[in-house]
């Protein structure tokens, strides 16, 4: 009896190793957001006896200038940072899908007006646009959500608009007309579900972008106000002690970076899956 091996016997890492690690990290992040108390203590408890201490077994990430535990603050900060980013992305998706579909279904001039305003919006850098909005509305978590939501909305609106053009011409929409369906029913049953295809994937990648934007704006003092822990705000507070206690700002930055990378890896993976299925 002969044994035929079509592949050499080598132990390889699983095919989706990167995806699995990233997804695992995100699951951990979700748990941290939902029950931060399980992982860390009070983020606001100051201890003047232990100020700017380096990472140790007692304080994994060290302590900051007021003697607060940096690890506790990063863990609790995840809730703020991710909540802002998620809310902003949700706002952008909902508004973007509605506006994009509206443009795709509207008459020529209305569509042109909407499409050009999406173009105009995406011509500005995200941060600049958000700053502009906050300058008008004032700083705070809510205006951060709205500002990032508006600034990232064109991503979704443009994709959905293009999808709508394809779908509205599709044979199945014509057929539904033949069954005497009302316009609203047509849009809800056939157009909306079929234009949504690529949106979840863009939203996952967009979420990473929103986290960065939220952190960036908070760093500039436009978002969450101290003493609430927020990654961007922590970076900002720690920057004065960068030479003596780099951990105060570097470690929150590392966590934020890892989160964004994980989201991007997962998003790209989903994107390939979706495109593979369609192609």
């Amino acid at each position: 009896m002969t044994l035929v091996l079509d592949r050499p016997l080598v132990l390889r890492p699983p095919r989706y190793a990167g995806f699995l690690v990233a997804a695992g990290f995100l699951v951990l992040m979700l748990a941290v957001v939902l029950v931060p108390g399980l992982f860390a203590g009070d983020p606001l408890a100051a201890d003047p006896m232990h100020v700017l201490e380096a990472p140790s077994t007692a304080h994994w990430f060290g302590t900051d200038q007021l003697g607060r535990d940096v690890f506790d603050r990063v863990v609790h900060g995840a809730r703020h940072s991710l909540a802002i980013a998620t809310a902003a992305t949700l706002l952008a998706v909902v508004a973007g899908v509605l506006l994009g579909m509206l443009a795709g279904l509207a008459h020529k001039y209305a569509d042109e007006a909407l499409a050009r305003s999406f173009d105009a919006l995406s011509a500005f850098p995200l941060i600049l646009l958000a700053l502009l909005f906050i300058a008008i509305a004032g700083p705070g978590a809510l205006s951060l959500v709205v500002a990032i939501g508006i600034a990232t909305l064109p991503h979704y609106a443009r994709v959905v608009r293009a999808q709508t053009f394809v779908v509205r011409q599709a044979g199945y929409v014509t057929q539904a007309v033949a069954f005497g369906r009302s316009r609203l029913r047509l849009v809800l049953r056939h157009v909306l579900p079929n234009v949504l295809g690529p949106v979840p994937v863009i939203a996952v990648i967009g979420l990473g972008e929103a986290i960065l934007a939220a952190a960036g704006l908070s760093f500039l003092g436009m978002g969450t106000q101290p003493p609430s822990p927020e990654w961007g705000a922590m970076l900002s507070e720690g920057r004065n002690y960068l030479s003596v206690a780099p951990w105060v700002s570097v470690l929150p930055g590392v966590v934020a970076t890892l989160t964004v990378i994980a989201l991007t890896v997962v998003g790209r993976h989903l994107q390939r899956r979706v495109e593979g299925r369609l192609g």
Binding site: G171, T174, V177, A178, F179, G180, R183, N194
Partner: protein
């Protein structure tokens, strides 16, 4: 010239192996015209490509004997195959738009073949000669143009010119006329006939028996990678011996098959038209800017009547369908449906009557919501609570298909689902826009039989749009012939097709290859 014994072509894949060609013998003598006929998936194209060493990526070719031009081709390397292609055998493929480089002029394309095969002398002059040989008007101007500037017929001629450029003794044409209008098809067939008369050997690949009948000396009928029958064209077509060939020959719709079933022996009852009018259009006109697409067209469809609408591409057939369906508003003219005004009504008012006017399109897949199963697709057309199963049974589909996605179905099954859906609201008129054009002959036969049955039992009227005169003559009661947006002739189908009065109708009819005409 070509002698092949026991040819096998397989495509090994990870899970299963596709056996495209399973042991065929093929001999081609100098000067003859051999045709391979078969339906999609029969292995006919793979066979043709194997002859020039282009079986495809990953293909495994085995044979007991494979001689090309007296030499053993099994030992050929890439270099030798390159010399066979163009030098010994010219290849003409179906779609010239894909086969010609869009970024190069037609002249450069043909000149390239001359250069590769070491043509001496003035190449431009030779290119012009070649274009003139294949009857391209104004060869000098055309040689400087790109493929997209040429019509489908001219592109096909240019492709033939590049195939014969190096003077190969063998010309292989794979579905050379499939995408073309009938009158253009007739011209290309005449051109291939000329090449034959000039002493070239021809291998013709086609799904269309009638096209092949015009040119071939011998016909090989392929099915599932095997040759099921072969013989002289006339004897094979008039007295086919293999059941599959018999089925194929019987399935070709034409004047002679009127009232008969195509997919099996039997007759279809054709009810007497009652004289009631279901749909009437008067003076229908559609202009886009200064361009008139539909010009003063009158259409009348009686209850239970099948009206054929024939014409070549660009004649405005599909626009007429859109105007009647009411998706596009006419520039002038009116449509009356079931005795009430149809055009000029707001969609809100038409909605309740929509169900009585249904549509079947050429490509059923694009008319299904991609996320939906067969059950959901058909149920959408049904009144609340209607059952899907009886409808599927009517169109000859089993209940096991209910939860499949249409993408998992064959072309014929998809079209049956589309028909089931169109029947669901019990329409009085179905507009069928080229419903069988994308189907194989035997599947087309089944679908045409089904449509005839539906008319006979339900009395559903149909407007049947087609470029295929044979299909229309087989099925329709009356016919309208469209040309450049206008109806040039109309009347009972036998009158129009047997005694055409308009020049264009005559031209169209003369161009149609028919089995009867060729065998006689």
């Amino acid at each position: 010239m070509i002698a092949i014994r026991d040819l096998h072509v397989t495509f090994p894949h990870r899970r299963h192996t596709v056996e495209a060609v399973r042991g065929i013998d093929l001999d081609i003598e100098p000067g003859e015209c051999v045709a391979i006929v078969g339906e999609s998936g029969s292995g006919k194209s793979v066979t043709a490509r194997t002859l020039v060493g282009l079986a495809g990526p990953g293909a495994v070719v085995r044979s007991a004997k494979f001689e090309v031009d007296g030499r053993d081709a099994r030992a050929f390397g890439p270099e030798e195959w390159r010399r066979v292609r163009g030098g010994f055998a010219g290849l003409v493929l179906q779609d010239a738009l894909v086969s010609l480089d869009p970024l190069r002029t037609v002249g450069a394309e043909i000149g390239e073949v001359l250069r590769v095969h070491g043509h001496r002398g003035d190449r431009d002059l030779r290119v012009r000669d070649l274009l003139a040989t294949v009857h391209v008007p104004e060869p000098e101007r055309r040689a400087r143009q790109h493929p997209h500037q040429l019509s489908g017929g001219l592109r096909q001629r240019a492709l033939i010119a590049s195939a014969i450029a190096a003077g190969p003794p063998l010309l292989i044409a794979d579905e050379p006329t499939t995408a073309l209008d009938v009158t253009v098809q007739a011209q290309i067939l005449a051109l291939l006939g000329e090449r034959r008369a000039a002493g070239e050997t021809l291998l013709l690949i086609s799904h269309d028996l009638a096209v092949v009948a015009r040119l071939a000396d011998r016909v090989l009928v392929m099915r599932d990678g095997r040759i099921v029958e072969s013989g002289g064209t006339a004897s094979l077509l008039s007295a086919p011996s293999h059941p599959y060939t018999q089925e194929l020959v019987r399935a070709v719709p034409s004047a002679a098959t009127r009232g008969r079933r195509l997919s099996e022996a039997g007759v279809v009852a054709a009810p007497e038209p009652s004289g009631d009018v279901v749909l009437e259009a008067r003076g229908l006109t559609k202009r886009y800017g200064r361009h008139t697409v539909v010009d003063d067209v009158d259409v009348r469809v009686g209850r239970g009547e099948i009206v054929g609408l024939v014409g070549e591409s660009g004649s405005g057939k599909t626009t007429v369908a859109q105007l009647l369906f009411g998706l596009v508003a006419p520039t002038a003219g009116t449509v009356t449906f079931e005795g009430e005004a149809w055009t000029g009504q707001p969609e809100r008012r038409r909605r309740a009557r929509r169900r009585h006017l249904q549509l079947i399109s050429q490509d059923p897949l694009s008319s299904f919501d991609p996320r939906w199963t067969v059950r959901k697709i058909v149920a959408e057309a049904l009144p609340r609570g209607g059952a899907v199963e009886p409808l599927l049974e009517r169109v000859g589909l089993g209940a096991e298909l209910l939860d499949r996605n249409p993408r998992q179905l064959s072309g014929g099954q998809r079209q049956r689902v589309a028909i089931a859906r169109a029947l669901a609201p019990r329409p009085s008129l179905i507009i069928c826009d080229e419903p069988v054009s994308a189907l194989d002959v035997s599947v087309q036969a089944q679908v045409l039989d089904l449509l005839a049955d539906i008319r006979a039992t339900d009395g559903t009227a149909m407007l049947f749009i087609s470029h295929d005169l044979g299909v229309v003559h087989h099925l329709a009661d009356r016919v309208l012939v469209m040309h450049d947006g206008a109806v040039v002739e109309s009347g009972p189908v036998d009158d129009v097709f047997h005694h055409p009065r308009h020049d264009y109708t005559r031209e169209l009819l003369a161009a149609v290859p028919t089995l009867e005409g060729e065998i006689r």
